[in-house]
Symmetry: C2
Subunit: 328 residues, 2 copies
């Protein structure tokens, strides 16, 4: 099993190291030559959820138009899967086209598994693919924190659901090429052996919506208050804003197709509790002075609301405030 | 010198006690009969800025349509001035009309001095007065905290500027009735003896704008972060939001007529420093579960911006978030 992982951030390094540790041959495609070199030379350093330290061998390549142009078709190694671990923020139209080019030049055009938050990336990738390869959407609740170019800390066990997108009808599924079936099974097998609790889902859109609701509440407020997830609901003012943001977001997602979810508020609180010591990715980005996913999360919800004639002033407020936080 | 003070909140009790302490005859007009009774029976308790405790005699009345209806014209005592110490939030059209009725039924129809934040109250009061009495606008930086119905703590020394509104031309000022001049001088004399550092200003609108800019930055953010004024700029994320809110608000106020103010940002920081231990009135209201002045401050700025084709997304965000804070 050969897997190309696109993106050397926290999630990319986590999946690469865990999959390589159970025997997958992994190549990480990074943005910089420097990071690709460090990974290829020194391997990935992983602190597992129990704090144990491991060094894991992985390949490193860097993804740029110039680099791809220099590689002759024959030089690109076979891959069974690509896993896209870039943040939405880093997925411009140009990058989506570059990724499509990488897959087109890989023998057999393997499918691409996307584990981004939100839904904004699927349109860009579908356009760039032009039907030349399959796209799978996934949603994961695993947590990780990148410590340096080659080091990652596994901060939270989670699950992973995946499905081909657009979802196929039962008839189409029956007619699916057996090779695709085989690849799916292989990937699920490796993901599960690597500890990602992975399964196929015929409910992936709903799971994406559910994760979006949770992220829309926890991420911007942890960034605003500069607080770990668990501290957020401890103060009445913050809990009040969480509740207000939840109550504004839920009807927007229901209108966009999320299924009824009676205990959504308890789920938000449950995530804060289970990940109480975690620094949300949005807070980590603000602290590091990097761009955040605010536009892909609360911005996306504001746009969903506008498209449906609903109002989402608190989501818009979060968008403005987290944007302002970045401008120091 | 007889002064009717309308409103038994922190600012009303502060002005009443300090003016009475230097010999003015003060009556506080409260919303409830209960508070009027407690003040009339037990006096006002004042903790001065040095922590000394004083009990000061003052009259108490309560302002309601029924109460006014029961008072025959002759029973309303003479007053040289009314001082309006209600928050904007408490100044509905009905209340403005009730205040106008009170002044109309007071011998000689004394002038009304308004010390509200923002500018929204002047329109309502001018409409209710119908030209029957003079309205003065004032801006003060004194700070106070009400501890119970009759007790107030003086938390910050400040200054007070006042001017008749609408401001009169020099010709109109010359033609001013000598009685008005006399009343003005008397009031300034009492305010200064009471320690309010009061003066006439031909620049009152500008001072109102300046105070609005400072309040627009400090008040909502202290409410959001549940923090004393001095803690606000200590953290880079909060300081970053303060700066962004300042930078958005200033051009709106300049467009609305505020004069150039090169060191406005330093002034905002200076106020945080000088009032570092103060709980802003907005935070105090949120903590007490009461309505805040958010609509009269950031809401007003958002409306000023909209009327001038400018955008004020952060002021709108503050409006939404502080409103949401109240809904627990």
């Amino acid at each position: 099993m050969r897997i190309g992982i696109i993106g050397g951030g926290s999630i990319g390094l986590l999946f690469a190291s865990k999959l390589a540790a159970v025997g997958a041959e992994v190549t990480i495609w990074t943005r910089t030559e420097e990071q690709a070199f460090v990974i290829a030379a020194e391997g990935i350093r992983l602190w597992d959820a129990e704090g144990g330290e491991h060094t894991i061998v992985a390949g490193g390549e860097w993804l740029s138009r110039e680099r791809l142009a220099k590689m002759e078709a024959g030089r690109l190694e076979r891959a069974d899967w690509y896993l896209l671990a870039l943040k939405q923020t880093d997925l411009s139209k140009e990058t989506a086209e570059l990724i499509a080019e990488l897959i087109r030049r890989t023998p057999d055009r393997p499918p691409l598994l996307c584990i981004q938050n939100g839904t904004g990336h699927l349109g860009k990738l579908t356009a760039a693919s032009a039907g030349d390869f399959s796209i799978y959407n996934a949603v994961t609740s695993s947590g990780a924190k990148r410590e340096d170019m080659r080091s990652v800390r596994h901060t939270g066990q989670g699950s992973l659901f995946l499905a081909r997108t657009p979802e196929r009808s039962q008839g189409e599924r029956r007619a699916e090429r057996s090779e695709d079936d085989f690849r799916q099974k292989m990937l699920l097998n490796f993901l599960n052996r690597a500890g990602f609790d992975a399964s196929l889902s015929n409910d992936i859109h709903n799971r994406v919506f559910q994760k979006l609701l949770i992220n829309a509440v926890i991420n911007p407020l942890t960034a605003l208050y500069d607080m770990r997830n668990g501290e957020l609901p401890a103060h009445p003012a913050r809990r009040s804003l969480m509740k207000a943001l939840h109550d504004e977001t839920k009807p927007v997602l229901l209108a966009a197709g999320m299924k009824e979810w009676p205990d959504s508020w308890e789920s938000v609180l449950g995530v804060c509790e289970r990940t109480s010591c975690n620094v949300s990715s949005m807070l980590a980005d603000v602290r590091a002075g990097k761009g955040t996913e605010i536009d892909s999360i609360n911005g996306e919800i504001a746009r969903m609301a506008a498209a449906r004639g609903l109002s989402a002033p608190l989501n818009e407020s979060m968008l403005r405030l987290v944007e302002a936080l970045g401008k120091r």
